[in-house]
Symmetry: C2
Subunit: 420 residues, 2 copies
């Protein structure tokens, strides 16, 4: 009997959990990702806002499987899937044969039909997104220090964040901290405390996934940090010069997008039904309708439970990866397969600046300083590897005690042409 | 009396030492750099070879002077100097008036008239240089794993480093370590131990600034790591496909340049005499010939002592910065000015891989493991700030104990257009 070949595309939370949980199964796994690293996306905003270094939240995927000879890692891109021949075409020319195919390729920002906004208002999904935002934020203060024109100064010191989910709230809080508490002693001409941070949300409240009282707390905590929270305000235009909120134009040189996501094209590769955000529709076993050996997981999949979509967060992706591994273990050993996938919501967490957080465990809700500590410990626990845990714990402790941010690098585009 | 205005261009070792030593002087300092960070260049090769993270060896210049209200930091570029009006023109449009001008703008790689080689064989001077090299090195192994053609495999697994000064020796040693000791368990198809690392030097021996026996030791230590040391071999051509050494073409996808430097254009701005490498000729007080209030320091200056040029290394730059500060303190207080600048050579250090180093203190020479520890402690001591010292010490300890490299990120060019 030849070994069962599993091709996993995507080294995010769902893909890695699956590979992890398949340990010991009689399979040969090929894991394909177009990046060489797994990224701990929940802390990406801390790279963008100069608290953490890039290498503290990203790990070479290949290194994670040093001791797993059953896992082959490929840095490559998927061009398409041929379901008839059960193969995946890669950009390098390689063609991978599969018995089971798992697509967990994540999502990118969605601009609701306004793709021209992307260059003006980048989102936050990759390490490059984070260093781009970091560069833009730091350069805005540098340019403010250099200008002699008041209108330019005001525009450079105005930051607009579109979308008040956890990422938007976390970015707004950290930029306000930076402007009001970290940077003031470092500039001679400008007063960085004059910085305006606008958090713009089309819906009625910030953190809509949280309970109403936590949402209200988050709003007042943000306002205490100096963030202007504008709810019920749709953004109608974004240009190089600023952002139009409803009918009002606000000059702003730094605009950030945290308002929506679009799934990667897995549904197109498979030619299966997708929802409005491009997520492939899957059944209760997370396989697509007409092939029990093709699974779609994480932000790429539309999983409906009790009439509601399962949220696009790390714990949901990990639970899906673990479920498919369990299903495959059962199938391969001829044991009864588990029942349908059930997402177990463990809670929603979001931080506001350096000292406060909100946690919504459903019955149990928490806000303020203690919530921040729990949030911090939970995130350190979920980081991969002892080294990263210690490094992040150390960076946070240092930031907390010294009030300084350490990863404040502007890395610029080089003129040198490079092949990649 | 108006305050004495000092304009310092360049936040490298010379510029920062000068600003540091001017503390308490009755001056108003403006420090201009086109990067927002000071870079600890002696450890840059460790970023390129995945041991250290970028933020561990770079510090926002502005943060260093939080508590120095006499120092204004500007992120800007010099367009020119007008000596008649005693002003410096900046790219932002700002014009800075000076009473004393200090230019310490460093050097870039020099390709001896073959500037077309730069894109094929990048050097190592900036953080972007280091992340570019890191990306190329890591991608070579990834592409080797993906190819099915033996010739392509061999070319991807061949690394050529041109120039066997400390940077070349350190890069060669670390790439060999990576290929022979770190990466082997992580690849399934290729044997990374087959990697060839060529260290190509036109001169007769590696580390020419060191004594002959240390140079011989370095050569044999490199060979023990698996590096092929080719001395007395000039490179005659570099293409996308490889490098021609003498008359022999060697297919190599990754070529690195560590063979020569060219000073930044300070001499041109000042319209003063320069040496072959573009360094401004300065007198024994480090001022230019016809203006005692304009100083040129570090890699930008040609300082001749006992008939030999002072080397372009960090300690020389720092001594020059300290000397000019002392001179200015004396001038401003009307005290006798110090005698001519004397460079005091404290020693030459270079590492070979993760376990060995050579140290040449003149009378006292050291090689091997103990030298490595002394090298490490010296470099940690010279890093700026407690946090960086602890972070680097920790990274090294981890690398040493675990045998893993942690900062192994391939950060790619994004398609998103960005303004900077």
């Amino acid at each position: 009997m030849t070994e069962h070949r599993v091709v996993v595309v995507g080294g995010g939370f769902a893909g890695l959990q699956l590979v992890h949980s398949l340990k010991g199964a009689p399979v040969k796994i090929t894991l394909v990702d177009r990046r060489n690293h797994h990224l701990f996306q929940p802390l990406l905003y801390q790279v963008a806002t100069t608290v953490l270094a890039t290498s503290e939240i990203a790990w070479p995927i290949r290194r994670l499987y040093r001791n797993r000879p059953d896992v082959t890692t490929l840095l490559d891109e998927v061009l398409g899937v041929d379901r008839a021949s059960r193969t995946v075409q890669l950009k390098s020319g390689e063609v991978l044969e599969y018995d089971t195919l798992v697509l967990a390729t994540g999502a990118r920002h969605a601009y609701f039909g306004r793709d021209d906004w992307e260059s003006m208002a980048p989102g936050l999904k990759t390490l490059e997104d984070a260093t781009t935002l970091r560069r833009r934020i730091l350069l805005a203060f540098e340019r403010a220090e250099l200008t002699n024109r008041t209108t330019e100064l005001d525009a450079q010191l105005t930051f607009a964040i579109i979308g008040a989910g956890p990422t938007g709230v976390e970015m707004a809080g950290m930029i306000a901290e930076l402007a009001h508490h970290v940077l003031p002693p470092e500039f001679r001409k400008i007063d960085t405390k004059r910085t305006r941070v606008l958090l713009v949300e089309a819906g009625p409240r910030v953190l809509p996934a949280f309970s109403e009282d936590l949402s209200a707390y988050a709003k007042s905590a943000l306002e205490k940090l100096g963030v202007e929270v504008l709810t019920g305000k749709p953004v109608t235009a974004i240009t190089e010069d600023g952002v139009t909120i409803g009918d009002t134009f606000v000059p702003a040189r730094t605009v950030m997008w945290a308002a929506g996501v679009q799934a990667s094209p897995a549904a197109k590769w498979l030619e299966v039904e997708a929802d409005r955000a491009g997520r492939a529709v899957v059944g209760p076993d997370l396989a697509i309708a007409d092939d029990p050996n093709i699974f779609v997981l994480g932000d790429t999949a539309s999983v409906i439970q009790d009439g509601k979509p399962v949220p696009g967060i790390a714990p949901a992706a990990k639970q899906q990866g673990a479920y498919v591994a369990k299903l495959m273990h059962a199938r391969l050993s001829g044991k009864p397969v588990p029942g349908p996938f059930r997402y177990k919501h463990q809670g929603s967490l979001a931080t506001i600046g350096r000292r406060a957080a909100v946690i919504d465990f459903g019955k149990f809700k928490l806000k303020g300083g203690l919530a921040w500590w729990i949030w911090g410990l939970a995130h350190i626990y979920f980081l991969i590897g002892t080294r990263s845990r210690l490094a992040v714990a150390w960076s946070w402790m240092w930031t907390h005690m010294s009030g300084l941010h350490s990863a404040r690098l502007i890395t610029q585009k080089e003129s040198l042409k490079d092949e990649s």
